[in-house]
């Protein structure tokens, strides 16, 4: 199987998992929040809300040690990293130039997490959060539908 075939064509998430994401992002408002999604075959199995070590309304940074623990937990649960989520406070649910930059090993187009769907939750209208998914590869951004079940 080539990597293209392994790549997600959609991300499926259960309603209660979506609620976990929403609650985490709302709690951090007006700063961005972030987290990791473990799962299999493009289906989210577990949501890991993460600490934003540099709280800001325009960016996020995960704690390396926490990230390491989560990746280990994902592996031990027989899951893989299917997504990385974060919130946008005053911009739409679309990757910023910094989001795109952070998706790669710096100074290259080598994806840090080739299989991950980048999920962005926009809280620009707090009453009506918008959630969208993207693949960031080869310097380009493409849409991945996020299905809520």
């Amino acid at each position: 199987m080539t990597r293209d075939e392994e790549r997600a064509v959609a991300l499926t998430i259960a309603r209660h998992d979506l609620t976990t994401i929403l609650d985490h992002c709302s709690a951090a408002y007006p700063n961005e929040a972030c987290g990791i999604l473990g799962g299999t075959n493009g289906r989210v199995g577990k949501v890991y809300p993460m600490r934003n070590v540099r709280p800001s309304p325009v960016s996020y940074e995960m704690d390396a040690a926490e990230q390491f623990r989560v990746m280990k937990d994902i592996r031990q649960a027989g899951l893989v990293l299917v997504g990385i989520f974060h919130s946008h406070i005053s911009s739409p649910a679309y990757p910023s130039s910094v989001d795109v930059e952070q998706a790669y090993w710096p100074g290259t187009l080598f994806p840090n997490y080739p299989e991950a769907v980048y999920v962005i939750l926009s809280l620009r209208d707090q009453g009506q959060p918008v959630i969208k998914g993207y693949l960031i590869r080869d310097g380009a951004v493409s849409d991945v539908p996020v299905n809520v079940e």
Partner: protein, 267 residues
């Protein structure tokens, strides 16, 4: 130029190619190429350029051969542990081909010395393992209008791009500024499958030989990405950035910058 009988035999497989011929071989023998680093990438580049009869090969490196280098840096060997890499590479390349003169630059590149070193060469090959050097080399090549064959490797992947200043994008058109130290993931993670440097270095050498001969389509305005695990080659179009700080319409970088060294990509 008259070839000796040995040279006609040595380069016969080149001379047989109509695209190379005696004329092309003469271009190779007269060419001057400088390698930034004699490590994982510089080793295969230098090896193939020496075999091809590139007459002058500069080697910029002030490191010594360590045992952990030998998993991929094929210009060196176990007997040369502790030897300067520039000296070790000279020995290797000149032993392969006596037509080649390897010029050693046993220095650390900086804004103070880079222009003086590369000005005498036609083509620069970047095989450096860190951001400050990569940006320094790019900027110096743009300023001196030197063709630059740039590459990077990481884990199981490699990328190559050929930079023809004035004719196509430079490295900064794509990656404008070096990343802040905090954004670089833990350096210890940056392992590299040895053979990846061989593939990518050999691709760089191919671009050098094509540039000298003036044949084919260079990776100008294109970034080639290779992944060892799924054996995929992908090419990404890279446009020139009008706002590029060094090669754009209104350059803001007109003097070389020594960025702080914070992490090496370990290759």
């Amino acid at each position: 130029m008259e070839f000796t009988e040995d040279q006609i035999l040595r380069y016969s497989r080149h001379i047989l190619l109509p695209e190379v011929g005696g004329e092309g071989q003469e271009k190779l023998l007269n060419a001057k190429v400088v390698l930034v680093g004699a490590g994982g990438l510089g080793s295969p580049v230098g090896y193939y350029l020496a075999a091809a009869g590139v007459g002058t090969i500069g080697v910029i490196d002030n490191d010594r051969v360590e045992i952990s280098n030998l998993q991929r840096q094929i210009a060196h060997n176990t007997k040369r542990l502790g030897v300067l890499k520039a000296e070790s590479a000279k020995e290797t390349f000149e032993t392969l081909n006596h037509d080649v003169n390897v010029v050693m630059h046993k220095e650390r590149l900086s804004s103070a010395n880079i222009k003086g070193i590369i000005k005498d060469y036609d083509i620069v090959v970047d095989g450096s393992d860190n951001f400050p050097t990569r940006y320094l080399v790019n900027d110096a090549c743009v300023m001196l209008k030197k063709t630059l064959i740039s590459a990077a490797v990481f884990r199981f992947e490699g990328q190559v791009m050929s930079i023809y200043p004035g004719q196509g994008p430079c490295y900064r058109c794509l990656f404008e500024v070096p990343p802040p130290a905090g954004m670089v993931p833990s350096c210890q993670e940056a392992g590299i499958l040895g053979v990846v440097t061989g593939v990518i270095g050999t691709l760089q050498a191919t671009e050098v030989v094509k540039a000298i001969l003036g044949i084919g389509e260079p990776l100008r305005g294109k970034l080639l990405l290779w992944n060892a695990l799924d054996m995929s080659f992908r090419t990404v179009k890279v446009p020139r950035n009008k706002e590029c700080p060094v090669c754009g319409e209104k350059p803001t970088i007109t003097e070389l910058i020594d960025y702080e060294q914070f992490c090496s990509m370990s290759h």
